[in-house]
């Protein structure tokens, strides 16, 4: 319990030194990872049911060689791959946005530094330290968030491609 409180205190101190932009980065990272886990959850869970129902529909058909059958097959694959690729664009965008938010934090922190410089005349380096930490910590946080999301995104993209390909392979026309 004490260790947990220590950890929370450390996080709070980190958030305070990072300034307001850090909270936005945290929120963005949270949403990003929620979407990533939602995708993983779908790939491991209900995707199999969706694929199975598509297969059943396909296998239940009397014939699978006519123009009609071809079009129905495309539609089935399209519907499933739409489900597979849902939110993938959003995740990629969020990965790209993390460094941008970090840059925003850097610039607002620099404004803070120059503001303090303008008020105090630059005599006191200590008073500028808060601005400097506000400038550097969001950059770092943005980079870390983007990197973590990048790996997850690569994994998800590859999985989605494989699943769509597998589905297309399963819906055979040879019988």
């Amino acid at each position: 319990m004490l260790a947990l409180m220590d950890a929370i205190a450390a996080i709070n101190a980190f958030m305070d030194t990072g300034g307001p932009i850090l909270k936005w980065i945290a929120a963005l990272t949270f949403v990003m990872w929620t979407l990533i886990f939602e995708r993983v959850w779908y790939f491991k869970g209900s995707l199999k049911g969706d694929v199975q129902s598509a297969l059943d529909t396909w296998e239940a058909r009397k014939e699978r060689k006519s123009w009609n059958a071809h079009q129905v097959r495309y539609a089935l694959i399209s519907r499933i791959s739409e489900k597979i690729n849902g939110n993938m664009d959003m995740i990629a965008t969020m990965v790209a946005l993390c460094p941008l938010l970090g840059l925003l934090g850097t610039v607002t922190g620099m404004i803070e530094v120059f503001n303090i410089l303008a008020v105090t005349g630059g005599g006191d380096a200590k008073s500028m330290a808060s601005g400097v930490s506000q400038a550097t910590i969001p950059t770092m946080a943005g980079m870390v968030a983007a990197l973590s999301g990048l790996f997850a995104n690569t994994f998800l993209t590859r999985t989605a491609e494989n699943e769509a390909q597998l589905l297309a392979d399963h819906l055979t026309m040879d019988h």
């Binding site: 009609n68 925003l104 404004i111 503001n115």
Partner: protein, 457 residues
Amino acid sequence: MNMFAKRCLIVAAVGLFGASTAFAQDDQAKSLDELLKMVQQSKISESKEHKQREAEFLRDKANQQSNLNKAKATKAAEERRSEELEKKYKEQEIQVAAKRKQLQERLGSLKELFGHLTSTAGDLRSNINTSVVSAQYGDRTVFLDELIDKMNSATKLPKIEEIEKLWYEMQRETVEGGKIASFTGTVIKPNGDKLTQTIVRIGNYNLVSDGKYLTFDPKNGKIEELVRQPDAFTANAAALQNATSGFTKTGIDPTGPAGGSLLQALINSPSLEERWHQGGTTGYVITAVGAFALLLALIRFFALVGISSKVSAQLKQEKANPNNPLGRVLKVAEDNPNVDGETLELKLEEAVLKERPAIESGLQLLKIISMVAPLLGLLGTVTGMIVTFQAITIFGAGDPKAMAGGISGALVTTVLGLIVAIPTVLLHTFLNGKAKRVLHILEEQSAGIIAENAEKK
């Protein structure tokens, strides 16, 4: 200016004219020749005068010797008097020294005490000069000035009442420094109005009134309301003023000699709106672009929500409804029931191609805005830096304040660019996803839906 010059000329001319008339009053010349004659005559009369003067000098020469003797006698008398005075001065000097010595002896240990009194009074005066307590108790320094003057002069001595008053003032400064007191005073508002208000003094640090922090200028004894207030603490300041007992949380600023230095520096730090104005023309352009992007996204959002809900409704119906893109595509199949598969596919593709621009309209523009906004921000930064460097060229790099203002202004445009770009990117992705879903249904599933409908019949 011209009028003035003219008037001067007139005055000068009148002056000249007046002078010439004064000279020529005895003998008025009627022509240049006459004037020449007159000059000749005056020369003759002048030489006559000179001769007269010479004769006078010769007459006086005889008296010179007696005058000289008289002057010498006066000189001798004065010299004698000077010697006497010098002697007297020396005697009195010795007397003064003796009296001084007597004074020192009689003062004795008191002298040390006066030294302490002088330094204490000086310290107290400098303390009071910067103290916020002086806002409540004015004119305390007058008495101290008199006391210090008295100590420094060789002829006056302080009275016991004055020494006691010094003691009292010192103690009052200490005691009041630890108190929260309220008193009535005149507050100068930012717009120049002078109002008599109840002022709360927090120890030796800050003055607050009506939830506003005040600044005290000890030199003029003026209490002014700060133009910019620390908004996070003003509610607490008001609570402090209204409280009658117990503890009240409040914010104090103990920085600086009399407290309140950071609060005064607050006036220099710009508000959010002023920051925005620092961005200049580029900043306004970015804001306008951002507002446009937001408006466009809003319009496209409602349009896409309408389209996709109609498409969803169409998916559940069998009959083609021409109020939505999918319905229009399906209508092509309905209108051509007897064509072969390949022709139908071509016709469908054509129909989808027609629907595409309406669904995707504005999305490309949104994407361009999301890319252009940071670039605009960069442009603003660079132009701001150019302005800063020009300032350095003119004023030199000696004043960091002059440069810092320009640099923070330059960075504002970058911030604006990013603030516009980040939501625009998100909105574009969101709307693009919505548009893509509808397009997927049109492009990849329309033929399948037609096939399914055909098989159901």
